[in-house]
Symmetry: D2
């Protein structure tokens, strides 16, 4: 390895690992090259990164883009793509962009698709490999989900590197969430230990938009669009009954970005509940009290609840899922039960309609905005790989594409800042009062 990772505690400069010196001229047809070590200084907002040094500290990131010199002789390169974790709009667009760019710009020897996430590297699962060509990926963007299949959970890094070596893969593109980026870091360590020459480039994927140092994760915009459709339905249901209450559960295990953004996009939400803002159900000013007031005056209400909200209200199961995430308690069921109980005790008529649109939100094809974004992510991932970068992800921050070390993006999850102008606008849009946090 040419450089050791020097990602200091957040702040200042970030540095990207490379496999070695880039000496081979780039074959790009539409060339405007970025300088080999060109950087960009950005002062990040609280919505872009949660950093210990506090907001506003300037960061220097390496600029993404094609370099004039390559580390690999691209025409001899074999690439592999793997998709891990839950679905998210745009995965197929990223795959397509990687394949198109690798073939059309760099004329690579081959791009293969690993089936069903990290399982696809492990012989015992017996999954096949797909050769990905410009022809067979040309319609990928029409379909939601991942054409490669996915799976959750880790696999042994040494078995994965064994597989990469066995297949003569030079570049591995990993599309996945927090867990996948951590797995990527482990794979990079294993590759380094073997003094192997394989580049690992991450493209962070999270429908929750909670990856640190990623401005807005791909698919988020599409997810919000679909979420507003579900909220519109909840509103129609709420209005359609006397004291009708529409409850919509949205994704957001540890952060309420989708819930917040969808609330801003559709002005029909009266209460929005997110993990970052613990709330009281009972007592004056608690959710039930505010809801009762709303129904008494307006006779309908819409509640949007992120799946990770209100975990302080229910007992933790202590279990974790296949990806290692804690199993959340079912806040929406709790809410519904408590709301029913509350109005029954007051002999107030109230009708609750519950909508859980999660699989409908995450499995649709990307919208135009996300497609453009995914295209750039895929292209820049290929550029980074060909120039010999490794152990990094491609990210967009303040409309620019940059390289971010894996260490930074996996350090912690990004959360909504409930003291921000953004969250203030969300509350304003709902009209809900700040709720006491103990009840």
């Amino acid at each position: 390895m040419a450089k050791a990772p020097s990602a200091k505690t957040p702040g200042l400069e970030t540095s990207i690992q490379t496999l070695g010196a880039a000496k081979i001229p780039s074959p790009l047809r539409y060339g405007r090259y970025v300088g080999q070590d060109e950087t960009l200084e950005l002062r990040l907002t609280e919505e872009e990164a949660d950093v210990s040094a506090g907001p506003g500290v300037p960061f220097k990131f390496e600029k993404a883009g094609p370099r004039g010199a390559m580390y690999f002789d691209s025409s001899k390169v074999k690439c592999a793509i793997v998709t891990c974790g839950g679905l998210c709009p745009g995965i197929n667009d990223v795959i397509r962009a990687i394949v198109m760019d690798a073939h059309h710009n760099y004329n690579v020897a081959s791009v293969i698709g690993i089936r069903y996430g990290l399982q696809g590297f492990i012989p015992k699962y017996g999954h096949d490999i797909i050769e990905l060509t410009p022809k067979n990926v040309s319609n990928f963007h029409v379909f939601g989900g991942t054409e490669l299949g996915s799976s959750r959970g880790p696999q042994a890094p040494d078995e994965i590197v064994d597989a990469l070596e066995r297949m003569n893969v030079n570049v591995l593109f990993m599309i996945g969430g927090d867990g996948t980026m951590k797995a990527a870091a482990n794979i990079v360590r294993e590759i380094q230990a073997r003094k192997s020459r394989i580049s690992v480039i991450g493209i962070p994927k999270t429908i929750d938009n909670d990856i640190n140092f990623v401005g807005r994760s791909f698919g988020f915009d599409t997810a919000v669009e679909k979420a507003t459709e579900a909220i519109a339905c909840a509103h129609v249901e709420a209005v359609g009954a006397f004291n009708g209450i529409g409850v919509v559960k949205l994704m957001g295990r540890e952060s309420g970005f989708i819930a917040a953004q969808a609330t801003l996009a559709l002005k029909e939400v009266n209460f929005v509940l997110v993990p970052e803002s613990p709330f009281a159900l009972d007592g004056p000013g608690g959710l039930l009290d505010q809801l009762e007031h709303r129904l008494s005056t307006r006779h309908h209400a819409v509640i949007v609840v992120a799946e990770g909200a209100g975990q302080h209200l229910c007992e933790a199961s202590g279990r974790t899922d296949a990806s290692g995430n804690p199993v959340l308690c079912d806040i929406s069921s709790l809410l519904i039960a408590r709301i029913k109980e509350h109005f029954k005790a007051r002999a107030m008529e109230a009708t609750i309609k519950f909508i859980d649109p999660s699989y409908i939100i995450r499995s649709v094809p990307a919208n135009a905005n996300d497609r453009v974004y995914c295209g750039f992510l895929g292209q820049n991932a290929v550029h980074a790989a060909m120039s010999g970068r490794t152990g990094m992800v491609v990210s967009r921050l303040q409309s620019r594409f940059v390289h971010v070390p894996l260490e930074l993006v996996t350090m912690k999850r990004k959360k909504l800042n409930t003291a921000s102008d953004y969250w203030r606008a969300v509350l304003e849009s709902t009209g809900q009062e700040e709720m006491p946090q103990q009840g």
Copy 2:
């Protein structure tokens, strides 16, 4: 009343009640009048009506449409509209069409909207009344649900007729399902007992498409369109995991029309389960066996289950809901539990994704096809009322609009004929084998 209801046991002639002789010239601007007693002979298919006399017996129905002579002096008429039961695409289109036709064609004195279903007639609920004018209903079609609000369950017919008399209502349009049509019949009886002169016209609403003598209920087409979107998502989810299983629960308490039609519309469904076709879960050829075979060969599957399917597999609760319908057992939870158990016992990996899109399906605005249909239903309801008809519903059968006595539509619910070409095509589309009915 001029005529007694003479709806004989299904077959032959149907006859419609009137309030009295129609002697006042009609003010219609775009006139082509239907003869006062003009009828139409139709041989109904099994998908249109479930009749004891068997399919193919010709029925004579009174034709819908404007008559040259009216019973009411329309310019002095006050109409009321009430919407009952669950939401369905197109309710607002029917309301809009009634208001527009009553005002523009018949120049009626007033159309009022009753709030929150039959509750709106009962003083103790304290709901207000809305004056409906061409201006304030002009955008109703843009919104799903019902702008009047709805509620479930019956109210005392005498209190309802008291309210109608108190408000000087001459014509009551009732938009609702099976229960509402039975309520309409009771209201008609009360009106007759009082020798009152109020016309009651029903517009049958059911997202399940299970009303007898209604070819395809309004909103059904829109519901199927939305259902296919959910199925498409289930397919994407199923394909995205190894041995992925997408389960979609669709409306259909006693009949599987939506499940069947959506299956035909989106060719990704592998198993469709409807109330009319009891199926075995266990044993050779049972659902679990077929599903295991499907996963072993194709590694993904989509199951569509109507909410009323497989009730023989779980114990009845004996309870009924506010509308008097039996509370169904939760077949989808049972299915999911049994599928998980089955594959766990076989140590086969299997991932289940469950989608319940019901509120998303029923609360969207109507599509173009349903809008045209709802427009004709509303107009013909007004025509029927002005000519003095009562105790009947407006229905479309074989592309014609006809009057059907309340007695006929409430006699029994329409069901899928599982011996029909239609159901055969559904099975063919899935590739599923006939399942043994005991397991």
Copy 3:
């Protein structure tokens, strides 16, 4: 040929040609067979067929569906599919259904796709042939248009039959409009002259919905849905300017079905102009006069004009296009010019926005309703072919699928009956007055 075509002048019985006796048992897995010569009596409405014998005369049609006995040994059959003329939603669904049914139900040897319409049969064009399999057509329904490509205009029947014989094709499915159905009849005659044993089955395609004896042509419903979106935009544009006029040109060379249905579906149209109803531009009660009145009182207006409307107002060019259809004069340009002139002369402000959505309407994928319909058309076409039928089309009339001889469907085009209840409802929806026909 076993039977001579006996399609009498409209009325009574229709009879279908066959290649010979059906003696081979059918292999159908989901069997409920239709009787070999089973017929169905239908009294057609004016919207379904324009017949010289007048509406209401009962017709006997052969029922569509699988027969217990086949003429062909299906496992040895080679089928070909060709798509001709302009695009229409659902073509790919019909292709898909034919391929799926031929393979899955009848286990045919091969289905080939002819490229670019009838050109694909003619060696000089050099187009290739596509083998169509359940696998490669499985996603066809996701895409609009025709995956086979199309072309306009006739090719020599003997060259086509040469090609069929050279490729050993036993069954030819022709998806196309009026001209294509006439070409099909010529091909049948050529096959008969050669005493060849090739079945030719038509699936009538016309976005104008003007094929006689076809209740509603496939794709029509989708086209109307898209047309309403364009009309909604025209309405927004009209409202957005003082005396704003939105003009939308819709398909409809000789019949105004799309214009009429879209007008009923979206209640924002103030004037609808169709070929069947010649109208005066000038003079009292003419379009310009009514439009002026509308603007003076409401300050915005939406006009929907079928492309074939008002041809009496402009000089015929005398030319014909590649399909042999007369080149229409450009009524929308004429309208716009005359409207501008009219209001300029009166010094009335008026802003015209013109929308021509035709290619956007016809190239989208089919909606759920059309998909179900196309599925049945394709399946029934295969059933008809396997039983040895030829020289016929598959049609849906009053919710039933039937066989109709080519002679009947090509005799004349279906038109809107401007004296019908349907057209009355269209006028009522717009509020436009009957216009004098000379101006």
Copy 4:
């Protein structure tokens, strides 16, 4: 006026005019106030601003947001909103946000809507005024266009200020394009000359995305989404014919942002033509040559052309429209004529389908992303006005909302930088070669 406008030649600091000292405590319920003169330093990219000082020079902008102290006693304030120029998705969302924020946050006395653009101020047009309340704007976001109506062209500033004074308006919100922002500057000058105390706040609107110092104009994202639908149809049409050519004309008088972004979003475009990149039609490497090559190898092509592209190829008319913009020559007609001619001369079959979706693109309701954006624009416009700012617009740059002096945004139009990474990616997506600029 408290401060003179000090907007220096681009670069460094921008300064915002105020009506006077802000001394009244703000009534905000969801308060986190921005410092009275808080600024933000941003280094703008070429896509955000075209500045003579060159890209990368840091700019200091005043931060948008609520201030703790107000200039106006908001409860006595009367606001007016006017919408000018062509339609664009999101106008109604901005109106709604202004009304909601003014009423709910600042409890203003009144917000009125001026009808039909600047005409609405001029008595001779006789347009009425609309009182805008939270209730009557609550559904505005459902509709495209502008509920206030619009018009093009200037009106005399003194007459406008007369009207403002006559109606006791304290704050005027102007939603419009380049011309409207220039009109706003004139109105501010007239107000200053009269020493009047009226605040004028602009919200820049342009579907072309060509306003300087505005990162991405509202509605642009929605417009691109709709544009891709038209391109998808053009692709289907192109593929549906042998040597099919789909031509789509998109908005973009002087800048090709929509064309470029839509090309990136839908990977089916083969040639994209924008005003910023003059191209040769003829000669080697010219458009016709490249198109011929494409058809010879792939047999279909999609061309996207911005309306202002290729103006060097046709003679300027010298005329201007009502807004003072030069009337463009019709490049799409020229293109189509020359393409037909070219292939006719070569006896190559070629079928051209032309789609002009402009009114369909600009009149749809905003998507979720644009709705959120419009909400912030409206809120920040109200905040700016209440604190006494004037002569400025609200803009989003690099995810932050800032105040920009009218002088800066009207100085020149923003254009695509054809040397940028962005444009390179566009070309790469099409595969088109750089064209010679003289042909």
